[in-house]
Symmetry: C2
Subunit: 387 residues, 2 copies
């Protein structure tokens, strides 16, 4: 185990009906709220009414900022910061999935400074403070509800970059599994892939070998999210299915699975970021394409951890680590296909002839993240495993 | 899964050499420190010098309060509060095992109020605030370093009661596995039993049946602490062994394994409290006697979870749940014996003729904890399984 600091101050309020507590949970942070959300879906399903009723009931003044896109973009983020600077709310309430939460974090940071917000994403400036943020999760996938990270795309430069700083931990996140009942099968599946992606990056790329608690926690999250995903696809109104799914998604990226594993990298996210930056593809769908390809590419060199993955996740047995690794990857790919996620570039309508351009784009992020081994050629090799 | 709130704001600083950071980690909480510790062991092993050097190096003024007993007592706690009120430190640094941390929490609460501290233990008063507490752990077992709970004995009334309130979460806990190198084999084994006891109470007694993430986390902690205990007994200076052990101990009682499991009870702790109150026996040793007996008693009525325990912890297979449960309990008992813990009353020199008196004593705690099913007769039946 490597030395680490673990400090996650977010308060999780979890369970049936908890979204009606948003007023009382927000009240300690001030009297005026910037309510951030996406499109009209929360109006159609009644969540908007419940949130505003609770906020108004707690005596809070609401300023609204809507229209956050599924992959949040810088131009919209800038509008949010402008509004926040004009209205001067005491805190933010973000209602939505990871995109809404991510953009709200960036608004919270940008609202209290004259530094240009994109400088936080490029690393030119450091986030020292932010407005308090309360979140109400409507899609369980990104883990943004219990971490200090947000991803936004600069649509002019096609850069999908992230911010991460302690002031961005949500103060409180309200997780109500029943709001997931209306989530489509497609997005349930994509979300599941996303959750798996969050834990496997460190699991497969960390150099530290002796992390038994962390490895088992990752395997726990993967098995639990796969089981509960199947339950939710069969019965979208399964409370236990949605609850297990939602909690697994939060734990996957709250820092605990990686505490003590030392340095690791995000090669799958690096490559997928380019897919969803260039094409109109859901993040989870992009990951379902990239992950089995990256795993095959990587297992060719060192199959051991992939063999363990096969034993622990799929219960497969055998003597050859190489053979086990190969079978584990095929099992995962088949399972992604079974739940309705695309598992090849072709399936997503992305021609193999685009691979050089995708690789070129991804290499920008590889340089930003210090993934020196991932040259344009290497990324293209990975992508060839994803055809 | 049941509704829950999870909020654990303690910062964990984990790893080799981190105790030398105590000065910088404490500095944000003020300039004057009340340093709380037990007997002279931290002077003999050099930890005292490292702590004071680090505190002084960070420009902190130190007031010392030593002599905390292994089972901390109210009279000493009162002395600590008196000293704190006289010296008015900005914060506390507790260096020791669970006892030192527990008493320090109570001093932190008692120092900032005129309410008599014992009123917090009896429930007459509620803890609203406390001085900030930084801890340096020298024994990994109780989990006190990442929870808001403390146990103190009123030696006049022979009441061993607890406090638990959000202001008591340590601000920062420094966990350095190398300080465990000198822990004896006996106490390594007893600590391991203690860690197992912290997770199995909810695992076996919670009524909620659908908690797959929590169940797997408990199994993870048990397997990890058993494996690492064996490593530490073989090689007391195994860094990886001590590190895994230490982190497992912290996770066992930081609230995460029980988040979502609903209500549960502590029957093993209830019975063990009487053993260590009446006889001179270490808490972990008492638990090693009680746990297999309580498991046998309980598995007679509902063997299912015990069968699962056998499959997941010991990898045993079979069709009969009853048979699997029986074998699982025997395996655990044998394993306790193997690491050097006593597994019967007889082994601890406690005659079977004492059972009625022990049961009588334990039934007082059963009533306090609302464990109505545990009448004197029922407790005696459990104890007959421990002979």
């Amino acid at each position: 185990m490597e030395n680490f600091i673990f400090h996650n101050p977010t308060r999780i309020v979890f369970g049936e009906g908890v979204i009606d507590q948003v007023g009382e949970q927000t009240r300690p942070h001030g009297g005026k709220v910037l309510l951030v959300y996406g499109r009209n879906s929360i109006k159609a399903n009644g969540i908007y009414d419940r949130i505003t009723t609770s906020l108004v009931g707690a005596g809070l003044e609401i300023v609204e900022f809507s229209g956050v896109k599924p992959n949040p973009v810088l131009s919209h983020l800038r509008q949010g910061i402008e509004l926040a600077k004009k209205e001067r709310p005491d805190c933010l309430v973000a209602v939505g999935g990871g995109s809404v939460l991510d953009e709200a974090k960036a608004i919270a940071a940008g609202a209290v400074t004259d530094i240009d917000v994109w400088d936080f994403f490029t690393g030119k400036a450091t986030i020292e403070k932010a407005l308090p943020l309360v979140t109400v999760l409507t899609v369980a996938a990104t883990g943004s509800e219990m971490n200090p990270t947000g991803v936004v795309t600069n649509e002019e430069t096609l850069q999908k970059f992230e911010i991460s700083a302690p002031p961005l931990y949500p103060r409180t996140s309200l997780l109500d599994p029943t709001v997931l009942y209306t989530l489509s099968s497609d997005y349930t599946a994509y979300s599941c892939v996303d959750v798996i992606s969050h834990v496997i990056e460190a699991y497969f790329t960390a150099e530290t070998r002796h992390t038994p608690i962390q490895d088992r926690l990752v395997e726990n999250i993967i098995v639990s999210v796969m089981e509960s995903c199947e339950t939710c696809l069969e019965d979208p109104h399964s409370y236990q299915g949605r609850a297990t799914f939602m909690w697994a998604a939060t734990l996957a990226l709250n820092g605990l699975p990686v505490a003590g594993v030392g340095s690791f990298s995000f090669p799958n996210h690096m490559i997928e970021h380019s897919l969803s930056a260039i094409y109109d593809i859901a993040h989870g769908a992009g990951l379902a394409i990239v992950i089995p390809g990256w795993m095959s590419y990587t297992a060719e060199k060192s199959p051991e951890k992939f063999a363990r993955f096969g034993r622990e996740i799929f219960g497969i047995q055998g003597n050859s680590e190489t053979q086990l690794a190969h079978e584990a990857i095929q099992r995962l790919k088949s399972w992604f296909a079974k739940i309705g996620a695309p598992v090849s570039l072709e399936e997503a309508g992305i021609p193999a002839s685009d691979i050089p351009a995708i690789a070129e784009n991804a290499s920008m992020l590889a340089r930003k993240w210090g993934l020196d081994a991932y040259t344009v050629d290497e990324i293209a090799t990975v992508l060839n495993h994803c055809k």
